[in-house]
Amino acid sequence: MDYICLVYVDENRLASLPRGERDTLLARTCDYRRDLLAEQHYQWGRWLPSARLATTLRRRDGGLRLRDGAAIRGEEQLGLVVLLRARDLDQALTLAAGLPLVELGCVEVRPLSEQAPWVRQGDT
């Protein structure tokens, strides 16, 4: 199954870390990515720069409503997205827990589906 790992982290806290610690964190994340890739768990991943760069929009009543910032506000913001392939949730959780940023922030692990979830309801 495919799982998306949404890593949330407080960017101010990250910025306040000593330079050396930040470098180590980055190096460890790159190493971990290589391990995941070697074991064919890693499908895709990207860093997300500051949530200040986000723009959120909604289309309502024929008009577009635009707003500066992320859809959900909070101290911890999406900072890294990793798409993993795992046998089951247990394996996905174990792999996600190994992401170095989880020591600082948190990771939300969610299964992905090719089918829109609302199609499934009421099929039986």
Partner: protein, 414 residues
């Protein structure tokens, strides 16, 4: 007639085992439950004619599996992807050696129902439903929550198991301790809800404690880990005191005032031997230690025979293994018994100053009791009042009220 009675008995004894195996084979809780019902329905019509099969359990699993394939086929007329699934089940014709795998299937089911990715409430409801075979209505009435709430918790938990890929397997050795902790927590929660209801007027709900004991025994028989034995021992040693725990009027009786001849010696003996076994393993944890403390109490013929030195020692180890303000409070009470009320009061004072027991009425109740014993009646009164303000449970409130009233009498005499 005899056959139908046989099928009834079989349902009672075997339905959870058959269900656990069907869940593994079919990979879906709801499909497996339907298949289980279909299999027993088929047995009711076929067995009186054809006779009872040599291996009824294997017959039921096999019948359930074929019924599930039929169901998928019928639904496949509307959803083509189900045809593929039906074909896959059908081709897996090789039936595994049932007698070997069936106990593993039960353990798998317990670990899946108690998976830490499910909420604690969902774990409790799902385990009571799937492993213990309680109905949704029974679970709702035991926990005093509406039936639709329980039903929804179970439906959502099953959906998460299916759609998030929560596996149906016994955890590997490296993760066993943590995952077992999640299972034991569910068992103990069910037991405590039966023994110390968090709300309502009745002091105990025997049926829930009974379910927890059955579950604890099943778990320990499937997986004889020290902490599984420790929890079973703790529940047995607690349950042993049930008859002495309330008086004729249904009011609680403190440990010191209990009629120890009412304690169930059979349960105590079983609990003690389990505690010893767990402690000898040297892989014990908080449940075994709490059971060991309960065993020391059980050994004392009279309250004054209690080995408080040993109890304080066990609390010291427990506090290191599982630090918590509540355990620290219990230790303080044990120290008061060993070294006198003054020593205990000082410790409770420190704990209250740390602020973590602010909403815990037993901390105030313990302080009140120690003040009373020291003759500091005004302080005792204030502490009982503080305890009352924090306590929601009807019977416990009555108890505190009585203590407060007795204090006024005592003060009148002074």
């Amino acid at each position: 007639m005899q056959t139908s009675r046989h099928i009834e008995a079989l349902y009672r004894d075997e339905s959870r085992r058959v269900l656990a195996t069907l869940i593994r084979l079919l990979g879906d809780f709801d499909l497996a439950e339907e298949a289980l019902q279909d299999a027993f329905t088929a047995a009711v019509t076929q067995w009186p004619k054809d006779g009872i099969p040599d291996n009824p359990r294997a017959w039921l699993v096999s019948a359930g599996r074929f019924k599930a394939i039929d169901r998928l086929r019928r639904r496949a007329r509307f959803d083509a992807s189900l045809e593929e699934l039906a074909l896959r089940f059908e081709q897996a014709t090789e039936m595994p050696d049932l007698d070997l795998s069936v106990e593993d299937d039960r353990l798998r089911l317990i670990f899946t129902c108690c998976h830490p990715a499910l909420s604690e409430q969902a774990r409790v409801a799902l385990t009571l439903r799937e492993v213990c075979d309680l109905t949704t209505e029974e679970i709702a009435s035991a926990f005093l929550i509406p039936v639709p709430t329980v039903a929804q918790r179970i439906v959502r938990a099953k959906a998460k198991i299916r759609d998030a890929g929560i596996p149906y397997r016994v955890p590997e050795k490296s993760e066993l301790a943590e995952r077992l902790g999640s299972v034991l927590q569910v068992v103990y929660l069910v037991f405590n809800e039966g023994y110390f209801p968090s709300s309502g007027e009745a002091l105990t709900r025997t049926d829930l404690s009974g379910e927890a004991l059955r579950l604890g025994r099943l778990l320990f028989s499937l997986l004889p880990e020290p902490e599984a034995g420790g929890l079973l021992a703790l529940m047995l040693l607690t349950e042993a005191r049930r008859a002495a725990r309330t008086d004729a009027a249904g009011d609680p009786v403190l440990l010191d005032d209990q009629d120890r001849s009412l304690w169930d010696r059979t349960l105590i003996a079983e609990g003690e031997s389990l505690v010893e076994r767990s402690l000898r393993s040297r892989r014990f944890g908080p449940y075994s230690l709490q059971a060991a403390i309960a065993a020391v109490h059980a050994e004392a013929q009279r309250p004054e025979d209690t080995d408080w030195e040993q109890i304080v020692g066990l609390y010291d180890v427990l506090l290191r293994a599982a630090p918590s303000p509540v355990i620290a409070l219990n230790r303080a009470v044990a120290v008061a018994m060993r070294d006198g009320p003054q020593a205990g009061l000082a410790l409770i004072g420190d704990l209250l100053a740390e602020g973590e027991l602010d909403n815990y009425y037993l901390a105030q109740a313990a302080r009140a009791d120690l003040c009373r014993r020291l003759g500091r009646l005004e302080e005792a009164r204030d502490a009982y009042r503080a305890a009352l303000a924090l306590c929601q449970q009807g019977v416990q409130r009555d108890f505190l009220q009585k203590r407060l009233a007795a204090l006024d009498v005592e003060r009148g005499h002074a």
